[in-house]
Subunit: 233 residues, 2 copies
Amino acid sequence: MIAPARNGWESVRAELLGRIARRIWKPGDSIPNEEDLAYEFGCARATVNRALRDLAAGGYVERRRKAGTRVALTPVRRATLSIPVLRVEVEAGGRSYRFAELSRAIEPAADLAAARLGVAAGAALLRLRTLHFADGAPFAFEDRWLNPAVLPDGAATEFGDLSANEWLVRNMAFSQGDIAFTAANAGAEEAGLLGVAPGAALFVTERTTWRQDQAITAVRLAFAPGYRIHTNL
Amino acid sequence: MIAPARNGWESVRAELLGRIARRIWKPGDSIPNEEDLAYEFGCARATVNRALRDLAAGGYVERRRKAGTRVALTPVRRATLSIPVLRVEVEAGGRSYRFAELSRAIEPAADLAAARLGVAAGAALLRLRTLHFADGAPFAFEDRWLNPAVLPDGAATEFGDLSANEWLVRNMAFSQGDIAFTAANAGAEEAGLLGVAPGAALFVTERTTWRQDQAITAVRLAFAPGYRIHTNL
DNA sequence: TAGTGGTCTAGACCACTAT
DNA sequence: TAGTGGTCTAGACCACTAA
């Protein structure tokens, strides 16, 4: 019982991580099993388990039943990004938010949108194009396809004062989704909307959300230059 | 005791999330406390606690002692990104990996690098510029500043067969770090190195890592066009 | 088949905070 | 001050998997 560690699972985690950082346990090494560690730390196995699960979630160790726990050979860093609604993101920076809906129409699905939503090409989808502003300056251009089949009746015409973005987040809790980040040169139209030179490098996110097996929406957001996502590791 | 839910905390989580999705509990609503839910589900409070902690981590609910648990008003989606070593990322796509070190020299820290690493401007830092290839094509250009003060003696000249990227991940476990994602137009030099037109939109990551209070390295990676990060929500 | 992690339980005490 | 979440415990059984 070397380390009293009377601060609970977080101090157990800290001690274990410290041993990895100090290379007492090197990448690839097995570390003692939960029961032995619990004895060493003078705590219950569940406490060690919690610490080790957290380290595994962070990519520091790999765990397999019967094989035990090993220090990750080539640690995969995991970063958690918070993706707030645009309004919240803008206002969190102390700037004022507003948005302008550029267009709203039922259109036959473009091939790309159809593929992302898993509907037949040409299926009738609601398309919304919206410009978001921070302190009056263009912040992001949103091009969204919505599947009317999964929206409550009337929703397509009534988001109230909310952007489609925020309305969906509040009203269509979803069970699945994916998101991608990439960079793209501004096309002529995007450049004009965002007030930048054609060809400017834009940060782009593409998101698709589903509920059960039904696609709800696919959206592409192009952010004005200078936008960055930041997080801790 | 409505729901037997004999599959453990994950089924409790699923049922709770289902009630949120079906708007039985609406955004802003309080939900029953852990003890009541445990009674309803016929399980221990710890099991409900685990499910609710997971939902809180996912941004679905907000919890405060005494105030209880509420459905998040404007859910903040959280996405977890895996950030592997470049070699692993390339090879995971079935492509061959190699890298070429373009330069390695002690240089006075540029203002930007000095600020990111928290050292005096002009301090002597090791600068490494590396080009990474996937299937022989340029994949990413790396511009890295290293703090020699925190490297083991000789490390600056001996990474073996590993890229600095991978050597650091394996040998310098760090306690803190941050990462940012943005987009930038390729400058003349970058364009030449990556084999793209000047001005092409590049996906850029900037990472700084620390051990205790000492900065280890600051690195900027510019990825060839077409690169994207993808994850589930 | 045996060792290890994954999880559950019933109870307990503590920490925070709304009232 | 009292209600709620946060965590710990000691023990138990289960699930997976390496040998």
